[in-house]
Symmetry: none
Subunit: 206 residues, 4 copies
C-alpha cells in the first residue's frame, strides 16, 4: 500500500500518449519517492531509481524527460494527493471549530499513512528544481485554502488578519511536528496531536 495507489484514484496524471504502461510509471515514481526521501534529490542516482523500480535505466527516460521532470511529476502528484485527501475528508456542514479539527486530523492521517509522501513534500529544498507547473499546483491549493479561511473570517470565528499569516502558523506548526518526529525529537501520539491542534486553534481563533 503506497501513496500512488491513492494517487491512482485521483485524476492528476495527465494522459501521455507515449507512455502506455501506467504500472511502470507508478513503479518508477514509488522508487523515486523512497530514494529521494532517504538520500535526497542530488544524492539519488537515476540508475538506482531504475533498479529499485525494476526497470532499465533507459526506461525512465521514456516516462520522464529528465531527472528534473521526474522529481517535478512526483512533487505534483503528492502535493495534489495531499490536497485531495485533506479536503475530500472534511464535512463542511459542521461548526467551524469542528471543520478545523477535521482538517488538522486529516492532515495527520495523511502524514501517518504516507509518511514518505509528506516527508518528500517538506523535507527538501525543492526551490532549485521545481518548475512552473509545480508552482502552479501549489498556488491553486493555496488559493483554495485561503478562500476557506476567508469564509471563517467572514463568520468571525478566526482572527481578521491576513489569511496567509494564519495558514502559515497552522501548516508550519504541523510541518515542524512531522519534521521533529522524523528526526526522533518527539513522538506524535494522539495526545500530542490533540494538544497541538488545540494550541494552534487558539492561535487563530477570533
Amino acid at each position: 500500500m503506497n501513496i500512488h495507489s491513492f494517487v491512482a484514484m485521483t485524476p492528476v496524471q495527465p494522459a501521455r500518449a507515449h507512455t502506455p504502461d501506467p504500472d511502470k510509471r507508478t513503479a518508477i515514481l514509488d522508487a523515486a519517492l523512497d530514494l529521494f526521501v532517504e538520500r535526497g534529490y542530488y544524492g539519488t542516482a537515476v540508475p538506482l531509481v531504475a533498479e529499485r523500480a525494476g526497470v532499465g535505466a533507459g526506461t525512465i527516460y521514456r516516462y520522464f524527460k529528465s531527472k528534473e521532470d521526474l522529481v517535478n511529476s512526483l512533487y505534483r502528484q503528492v502535493k495534489q494527493s495531499l490536497a485531495n485527501f485533506v479536503l475530500m475528508g472534511v464535512k463542511q456542514d459542521v461548526p467551524a471549530r469542528e471543520v478545523f479539527r477535521q482538517l488538522w486530523f486529516r492532515l495527520a492521517e495523511f502524514a501517518q499513512k504516507y509518511p514518505k509522501g509528506f516527508a518528500f513534500l517538506e523535507l527538501h529544498h525543492h526551490g532549485s528544481y521545481l518548475d512552473d507547473e509545480s508552482r502552479a499546483i501549489e498556488a491553486r491549493i493555496l488559493d483554495l485554502t485561503r478562500a476557506f479561511i476567508m469564509r471563517l473570517q467572514v463568520e468571525k470565528v478566526v482572527k481578521p488578519i491576513a489569511p496567509m499569516t494564519l495558514m502559515i502558523i497552522v501548516y508550519w506548526s504541523f510541518i515542524g511536528l512531522t519534521r521533529c518526529a522524523q528526526e526522533g525529537r518527539i513522538e506524535i501520539t494522539d495526545e500530542v496531536l490533540a494538544q497541538t491542534e488545540q494550541c494552534v486553534w487558539e492561535a487563530i481563533r477570533y
Copy 2:
C-alpha cells in the same frame, strides 16, 4: 553588510593557527552562504564558491578540510550567532509575556538583518552532512530554550504540555513566516510581525 560582520563580533570562531587571513576565510563563508541558500549544498560546486569569493579553487581547501567541513563551519557560526543574538538581546527581569515578545522580535530582527543566514539554517535538509560538533551546538541551544519554557510553565504562564511541542509551534511558525517571505508570498511588516507574535502567544499561553 553580511552576517559575518556580526559573527566577527562574537567569540565563536575557534582560532586556527594555520589560517592567517580571516578576511579570506570570511569571504569564502559569505560566498558559500549566498550560494547554499540560492542553490542548495549539493547544487553548489566548490569552484563556484571560490569564484564568488574571489579566490582560487584550491584556496578553499587551505581554510576548510572539505566541502563538508565548509558547510559545517558555516552552520555552526550562523547557528551560534543566532543564539547569541537572540539570547543576549533579551532582558529577563520583566513579565513573561514581555520576555516572549522580546524573543520573538529579536528573532525577527536577526532574520531581517541576516536573511540568508536564517534561511540557510532552516532551508536545507542538513541531516546528511552535519557532523557531531554541529549537532552538539544545536542540542545545547535546544536545552537552553527548553529550560526557559519550563520556567514559564512553573510560573503557570504557558500551557503545561511537552515543552518541545510549544517550541515547535513558536519556532516553526516563525520559520514558515521567513520562508514564505523569501519566496515572495508575504511581506513581513511590523504589523504582520506583531499579529503573528500575538497569535503564537495565544497558542502557548496558559
Copy 3:
C-alpha cells in the same frame, strides 16, 4: 599478441557477473599494462588508460572499482599467469639439474613472450597499493617455490642454507637480467641465458 591472450587460456579471472564484455575488460587491462610499465602507476592517469583502450573514461569504472582495483587485478592476473606458465611447463621426472634448467628457461620464455607483463611484476614499488588478495597470491607462489627448493635440499643437490636466500639469488639475478635488457644495457641471447643459468646453478648447487 599480448599477455592477456595467454591469461585468457588460464582459469584465473574470477567471473564478474556485472561485466559482460570480456573483450573490453581485456582491452583496459592491456592498455593499463602498457602504460604502467612505461610511466609507472602514479604517472598514469586513468583517462589515458581509457584512451589507449579505446573506451570512455567512465567505462573503466564499470569494470574496476577504482584505479587501485585495476592495478591489483592486473597484478594478480600476470603473477598467476607467470606461476602457471613456469610450473606447468616443467617435467618433474628428470634430474634436479634438469628441472632447474627447465625452470630457468621457462621463466625466460615467459619474459620473452610477455616482456611487459614480466616488467610490470618487478619494475614497480608495488608495496603502496597492493591489496591483501594480491599479497596472498604472492605468498602462495612463494610457498610452492620454497617447498621445491627444500626437496632439492633433502636430495642434497643444493646448498643446505635458508631456501629464501637461494631463491633470492636465482630470481633476482633473473630480474636483473630482464631489467638491464629492458634498459638496453644487454641483450638476452640464448648464449647469455645459458651462461647465466650455469652461473646461478653453481651459486646454489651443493
Copy 4:
C-alpha cells in the same frame, strides 16, 4: 649521522653560485630521502619535504629547479656515495677472492649504515624521472666496475663471459637481499651475508 654527512666529504656536488647555504641544501636532501623512501616520489608533496627540512616551500626552489631536479640531485649524490664508499674501502693488493669478499661486505656495510640511501637507489621506478646527468653517473660507475671485472677475467679467477652478466648476478642478488629484508621476508645476519657471498662467488668464479 646521515648519508649526507658522508656525501659532504665527497666532491660530488657542483658549486652552484646561487645556493649559499649548503646546510639548508643538505637538510632538504635529507628530508627528501626520508620521504621518498617512506612514501615514494609521487606520494611525497614538495611542501611536506619543506616542512620536514624546516624550510619554507619556496626555498626548495632556490636550491632545486623542480621536484624532478631534486630527486635527480639526490639520486646522483647517493649513487656516487655508494660507489665511493665501496671502492674506497677495498684494498687491492690481496687475492681476487679477498677483493670480492671486501666489495661484498663493503656493499653490505653501506646498506646497513645508510639503509634509506640504499633503499632509495633501488626501491623506486626511477625510470620515469631520471635525467641524462644521472644516467651518466650510473654509466661511469658501471664502467669502473666492468674494468675491475675484466681484470679478474684476465687473471682467470672469474668466468670469461660478458662482464655485465656477472655484475648483474652479483649486484642484483644483493639488491634482492636488501629488498626482501626491507619487506621483512628475511633478516640479513652476518651468517646470511657470508653464505650469500660464498654462493655468489661460486656463481662467477672461474
